[in-house]
């Protein structure tokens, strides 16, 4: 009986959306789109002598409007016309992810293996290695932020502040402090000495910034952390005597292979190990450093989740009041989450500084925070493997924009695909939230269980509640 009724509603659903109504709806959407695009795209203001003039580009407006019309029509025909019960699972992304889920452990192993052997693959060149290093840096940042957002449920929009603190601590310690206090032979070790220091400094900043916001929740917390991120950037830009302001800090020492520098000379890495000198050695070494740092972050997070403090984080995320009434010290719990997340951000920052050799406040804008947050959200808050997949997809996807020169043949030589990557990124953030707000990985493994381990759907956990 129930099936019969359902079947009836399905047909009614189909019949209710005849082509005329769909076309009318699409036409309305196209009209609104035209109104939206007409002034901003259609009339470009160009500075010329004697003031601004307008340059008209109605062709572009029409193309954009046509895209909206076609997109709306496609949505109607492909998704919205589906029967309701099928509609629940509609969408390519969710289905794909649903199929991926049983494979999670294998994906993890496969990614790990691929990451380890990447530098030795015959097709790997410097470009691939640099890209891999970048992906791993963001993966590490994602895992660090995952502690704060995914586990403890504290939405942090200023994570880049700790990245900046780590980078500047390393840069300042290694360029201004160590040359004065360390004996010469120890200077080659400066990366390894400064790394824990910058991590500790970042963790301190995590505490300093975490302390005032203990009482805040949700959106308010997000906006205050954003403000902190901006404050740090403004201070870095304007405190010229310390940070050299917008010009940044050049000449940051490169890491050494436990005291052996990557130089051409007699005491260099290549000579010591009887190899031929090649600049790629340093790149490979940097790649392995960030791989190890990222894996450490992952390992620590996984272990911490099993400790009382990790369980307290997750309990805090689910319900702060219940947490408090059960005797968990929410102050300490929040502060440790901030400090832990900040510490890993600081490590990643010092790696960034040593890899670039030059840092300036421009590298630490809000967009970086948004990018890392997007990686965590796309991956699925609280899921480490999801974050790993998301950072590969996200950073790899960004890089693809650089390599789409074939689009120039379609749109003409002036067309620069990399111009559009942030636009696509912003739209992707919205679309992910609409289609799959829980990210790619929607299963959560409970950290503690009575008899058997039952996977929990992400819909049942309250990430980012507090």
């Amino acid at each position: 009986m129930a099936e019969h009724v359902q079947a009836k509603t399905v047909t009614a659903h189909h019949a209710g959306k005849d082509m005329g109504a769909i076309l009318k709806d699409c036409a309305i959407a196209a009209f609104i789109a035209f109104a939206i695009f007409a002034p901003i795209i259609g009339l470009k203001t160009v500075s010329e002598t004697g003031g601004l003039v307008l340059r008209q580009r109605w062709g572009a407006v029409l193309i954009a409007t046509a895209i909206v019309f076609a997109g709306r029509l496609a949505l109607h025909l492909l998704f919205w016309s589906r029967a309701p019960e099928a509609g629940k699972k509609a969408g390519v992304l969710p289905r794909l992810a649903g199929r991926l889920e049983p494979l999670i452990p294998f994906i993890g192993v496969a990614m790990f293996t691929a990451a380890v052997i990447l530098p030795w693959l015959p097709s790997t060149d410097r470009y691939i290695l640099d890209l891999g290093t970048l992906v791993l840096t963001y993966m590490m940042l994602g895992w660090g932020l995952n502690i704060v957002v995914g586990l403890a449920g504290l939405l942090d929009l200023g994570y880049v502040a700790f990245y900046a603190v780590g980078a500047y601590s390393y840069a300042l310690i290694s360029t201004s402090l160590f040359p004065h206090i360390l004996p010469h032979w120890l200077l080659a070790w400066s990366f390894w000495l400064a790394l824990p220091l910058s991590g500790a400094l970042a963790a301190c900043w995590g505490l300093i910034l975490g302390f005032p916001v203990l009482r805040l929740r949700g959106d308010y917390l997000a906006i205050v952390t954003l403000a902190f991120g901006e404050i740090i950037r403004v201070v870095l830009t304007n405190w010229i005597s310390l940070t050299n302001g917008p010009n940044g800090i050049p000449g940051i020492p490169r890491p050494s292979f436990f005291g052996i520098p990557f130089t051409r000379g007699d005491n260099g890495f290549a000579h010591t190990f009887g190899l031929e000198y090649s600049s790629i050695q340093r790149i490979i070494f940097l790649y392995y450093i960030i791989l190890i740092l990222a894996l450490c972050t992952n390992f620590f997070t996984m272990r911490l989740r099993r400790l009382p403090i990790g369980r307290a984080w997750e309990a805090l995320r689910e319900d702060e009041i219940a947490c408090r009434s059960l005797g968990i010290n929410t102050t300490n719990t929040k502060l440790t989450a901030f400090a832990m997340g900040a510490m890993f951000g600081g490590f990643a920052g010092s790696f960034f500084a040593t890899r670039q050799g030059f840092i300036s406040p421009e590298s630490f804008v809000f967009m970086e925070s948004a990018l890392v947050l997007a990686i965590v959200v796309l991956g699925g808050l609280g899921s480490n493997i999801g974050v790993a997949i998301a950072s590969v997809v996200m950073i790899g996807g960004f890089e693809m924009f650089r390599n789409m020169d074939f689009l120039k043949q379609v749109f003409g030589q002036d067309f620069d695909p990399s111009q559009y990557r942030m636009l696509i990124f912003g739209m992707a953030m919205v679309l992910i939230m609409i289609w799959r707000p829980r990210g790619l990985m929607t299963k959560r493994d409970p950290t503690i269980f009575l008899k058997e381990k039952k996977a929990v759907s992400a819909d049942l956990v309250a990430e980012g509640h507090g």
Binding site: I32, A35, I36, P39, I40, I41, L43, K44, T45, S47, G51, L52, V53, L54, L155, L157, P212, V213, R215, L216, G218, D219, Y220, A222, I223, V224, L226, A227, F228, E230, I231, V234, V235, T237, N238, I321, M367, A370, L373, A374, V377, L381, Q419, Y420, M422, L423, F425, G426, M427, A428, M429, V430, M433, I434, P437, D459, A462, E463, G464, H465
Partner: protein, 311 residues
């Protein structure tokens, strides 16, 4: 003293602009409990639309005063309409499907929308700042001090008067709209209890949409003011102005219209006095620290109701 007076005038002007943007934040937060992160960018869009219309109409400072006034009102209306359409679309595309989703989803979607709007404007209008020749010149001399160091003139420009007067007029109209009309009643009802309001026959979705449109219209007014006052805009003005206006909304008490205006004034004054007496470089730090301090010590704001959390 004269210097102080001048800064006071400047602060009130800036505060009016922030207050107008803050209304959009406070109304949206009041009704659906989310920060419309893209609101600052809607302000930016409003500013751009105003600029484009001004250039298209060919308005310059040499236009006669009567024509200029009429033309600017036309510009204002067009900018308000287009911003309204933008914010309506933003709500429809990015927020409405997420109602009832987990708490972070609308905020993240809003951040995505903010990036989208910024990049869209950057690509369509390029990243260079857009200068506009001043349209309204001149002003009154309020006070004058002649000393050995030279003459310091406290001036109140026509544009500052226009900004403050427009803000006051719009605020009055707006308050009447909220307190006297059925739309305002519906909005207040949705703010108090959305489910109950819908049970009583209020079209909640429509009310929310209209709230976004109204907030955007106010932001567009602020956008035109900003353009006329500073004479230069770019695609990134929405971010800073947005955060500061949000600070103003929080300071005034989120959900409260007079609070938004008061908060805007306070933030404008703080920023201007900080720049005048301490350092220009750190004026944003002052505004941001203010936000943090208000949220920590006075989370309900100056005119807001304290939030009671029930288990």
């Amino acid at each position: 003293m004269e210097y102080f007076l001048q800064q006071l005038i400047n602060g009130v002007t800036l505060g009016s602009i922030y207050g107008l943007i803050a209304i959009g934040y406070t109304m949206v937060y009041g009704i659906i409990g989310m920060i419309n992160f893209a609101h600052g960018d809607v302000f930016m869009i409003g500013s751009f639309v105003a600029l484009i219309v001004i250039v298209a109409l060919g308005i310059t400072a040499s236009t006669g005063i009567a024509v200029l006034m009429l033309a600017l009102i036309l510009v204002l209306v067009i900018a308000m309409v287009f911003s309204g359409v933008y914010n309506w679309t933003v709500e429809r595309v990015a927020y409405r499907p997420l109602r009832g989703s987990f708490r972070l989803a609308p905020l993240i979607s809003a951040i995505g929308m903010s990036i989208t709007l910024e990049e869209y404007t950057r690509i369509s209008q390029d990243a260079r700042p857009k200068p506009l020749q001043p349209l309204i010149d001149g002003g009154f001399t309020v006070a004058k001090r002649v000393s050995d160091a030279g003459t310091f003139v406290v001036s109140l420009s026509y544009i500052q008067i226009a900004i403050v007067v427009t803000t006051v007029v719009l605020m009055t109209v707006f308050t009447l709209l909220i307190t006297r009309t059925s739309l305002g009643r519906a909005q207040r009802a949705c703010e108090q209890d959305r489910k109950m309001a819908s049970l009583l026959g209020i079209d909640v979705d429509k009310t929310i949409s209209l709230t976004f449109v109204m907030g955007a219209a106010m932001a567009a007014v602020a956008g035109l003011m900003f353009l006329l006052y500073y004479g230069v805009i770019d695609f990134y003005i929405g971010f800073l102005a947005g955060v500061k206006a949000f600070t103003a909304a929080v300071l005034g008490g989120i959900g409260s219209l007079p609070g938004a205006m008061l908060g805007g004034l306070v933030i404008g004054l703080i920023e201007v006095f900080w720049s005048a007496y301490f350092s220009v470089e750190y004026k944003d730090v002052a505004a941001f620290s203010m936000l943090a301090m208000v949220l920590i010590f006075l989370p309900q704001g100056l005119l807001g109701k304290p939030e009671i959390e029930k288990v």
